[in-house]
Symmetry: C2
Subunit: 134 residues, 2 copies
């Protein structure tokens, strides 16, 4: 697995935890010992592991939360930091997101997430992609 | 100037170019030879230097574009990639943004920007901050 594949794998793990409403898996996705921040659609800034994970527990614990999928993820990395932009499909509507990962221990861990509304659909070519920034 | 100060300086240069409606300065802020992407509030994904800078030329060239300011910027960096989250003040309303920078040549250059709506005001403590991710 290339490092870019590993970043896309970490991004997939984030959306799998989201789709499965698995708060334990979500806690694994986010970094343990790095500064964390999260911007849910329309929300303000959440900071710190406790505040960020509590927001996810509330979202994942809500039985009315809609299903979610990730489309057209593209990763870019330089050294031990990487980012992914992708579309999120929620009940046939789309959001657009930025996810930032940092290498912590031997894994890519999420440190920042921002999702917001988008007026556009994802591109028809939705295969995940990535590029090294050298 | 520390590297974190340099990242915050690059972030300020972005908002200064925006506030001054200076397309030339905006073109200097964005990286020359790296993959670029930009998500304006509510828009889809723009990719590549041409597409991204054309969008900025349209925004900066619009005489009805509102004034903009940047508040509560906080930077995090690991090696040669860094990100800033901040609030944007536009006509008394706020957006919230993620800006990602990569070291290109001897400068921090913008490679990705996402801004979206937020229901919250920025924190009263609006001094710029930053932290090394080690």
């Amino acid at each position: 697995m290339t490092e870019l594949d590993a970043v896309l794998f970490a991004n997939e793990a984030f959306y799998r935890a989201f789709a499965d409403r698995d708060a334990g898996a979500m806690a694994e996705v986010w970094a343990d010992d790095l500064p964390l921040s999260c911007i849910h659609p329309g929300w303000g800034l959440l900071e710190g592991r406790d505040e960020v994970l509590q927001s996810w527990e509330a979202i994942l614990g809500n039985p009315d939360s809609p299903a979610i999928g990730c489309l057209a993820a593209k990763a870019h990395l330089r050294g031990e930091m990487a980012y992914v932009h992708c579309f999120e499909e929620i009940d046939g509507n789309y959001l657009i997101a930025t996810n930032i990962f940092v290498h912590e221990g031997k894994r890519w861990r999420l440190v920042h997430h921002q999702a917001g509304p988008t007026a556009e659909d994802p591109p028809l070519e939705t295969k995940d992609e990535g590029g090294l920034i050298n």
